[in-house]
């Protein structure tokens, strides 16, 4: 009897052991349309964890890790003491809704829906996005998604205010044409490894 219980526990623990994939070097590209030029920035230091048993997916990145395409803006943002230390991160926690359809042993491409909460600055917002998951032949897995995030009026004001304050010191640009719009296009690109600890 004891042996059966031990065997049962062993089998159970095996089947409920979380199968987790992670990355420390995910990529997020953000873009905001603008009258003057698109403001674009990249962050290649995104960490993400994807649990293939529960469908839970999360990612986290640091605001200061964004590098702006526009050289002058990158310098302005990085040379001044832009204070992001109160809220230095963006975070997403959610679930891949139809993850049971994915066969993680079979290479292929799967369309999925992701639903969850995005935390940016002190704001929390509910987000739904379409994504794609690629299962490679070597057991590798990657995910990508792009969606539009519409940010609150007050946050846009905060951002534009910041640029108005920071930019004219360095350059003589009319910031009315350089403000960002409320719609921010976000591209996400994550290449996962199996978590082995």
């Amino acid at each position: 009897m004891r042996h059966i219980i031990i065997l049962l526990l062993f089998v159970l623990s095996g089947s409920i052991q979380a199968q987790e994939y992670y990355t420390r070097t995910g990529h997020v590209h953000v873009k905001s349309a603008n009258k003057f030029k698109n403001i674009e920035a990249d962050n290649y230091q995104i960490i993400s964890v994807f649990n293939t048993n529960t469908g839970e997916i999360s990612f986290e990145g640091l605001l200061r890790s964004f590098e702006f395409k526009f050289g002058a803006l990158d310098r302005a943002v990085n040379s001044r003491n832009l204070d992001v230390s109160a809220h230095p991160k963006i975070k997403f926690k959610g679930k891949v809704k139809n993850f049971r359809r994915i066969d993680f042993n079979k290479p292929g491409e799967y369309n999925v829906k992701v639903h969850g909460n995005l935390f940016i600055w002190d704001e929390k917002r509910v987000t739904t996005a379409d994504g794609r998951i690629y299962v490679g032949s070597d057991g590798q897995m990657s995910a990508s998604s792009n969606f539009i995030m519409t940010i609150e009026e007050q946050s846009v004001e905060k951002l534009n205010d910041l640029m108005r304050k920071k930019l004219p010191d360095v350059l003589n640009i009319n910031t009315n044409t350089l403000g960002v719009s409320r719609d921010i296009i976000i591209d996400l690109d994550l290449t996962y490894q199996l978590k082995t600890w």
Binding site: R24, T25, G26, H27, K37, D42, Y44, Q45, I47, E60, G61, L62, L63, R64, S65, E67, F68, F70, G71, A72, D74, R75, N78, S79, N81, L82, V84, S85, A86, P88, K89, L171, I173, D189, T191, W197
Partner: protein, 136 residues
């Protein structure tokens, strides 16, 4: 009249040049910046582990020179080399994304070797993250 057109043309050229110069200004770099803080990878990791809020205020956006054990390296999506330094913790350490052209300095370095890297601290995720790094 001819002079007027010449002046206008000249102004347009100046504006165009200024526009492209501004767009293509080199990005900020830590190469020629003096380090605001010099410490070991373990000290930096422990500082963030012990008090993240305080460390955010102290280190984010600052140039930090970190000395520690080299653990692994890999490539990120833009092809940049990412170095993980041992932070003494079980999971996290110090993650450093190198500036282009720095990876050649890693050719002689093996796991466990001591290295010194200077970069801009952006905060704590799983590891303490440094960006735009150069190997000293």
């Amino acid at each position: 009249m001819k002079k007027f057109i010449k002046i206008i043309l000249f102004l347009i050229v100046v504006l165009l040049v200024a526009y492209f110069v501004v767009l293509n200004l080199p990005k900020s770099s830590v190469k020629n910046k003096d380090a605001d803080f010099k410490l070991s990878a373990t000290e930096l990791y422990n500082a963030f582990e012990a008090n993240e809020k305080k460390s955010n205020k102290l280190y984010i956006g600052k140039t930090v020179e970190v000395k520690g054990k080299f653990l692994t390296q890999n490539k990120d999506n833009q092809g940049a080399t990412v170095v993980i330094m041992d932070g003494g913790g079980s999971l996290g350490g110090v993650l450093c994304t190198l500036e282009q052209g720095q990876e050649s300095k890693l050719s002689e370095i093996k796991q466990g070797d001591e290295i010194t890297i200077k970069g801009m601290c952006t905060g704590l995720l799983m590891d303490v993250v440094l960006n735009k790094c150069v190997i000293q």
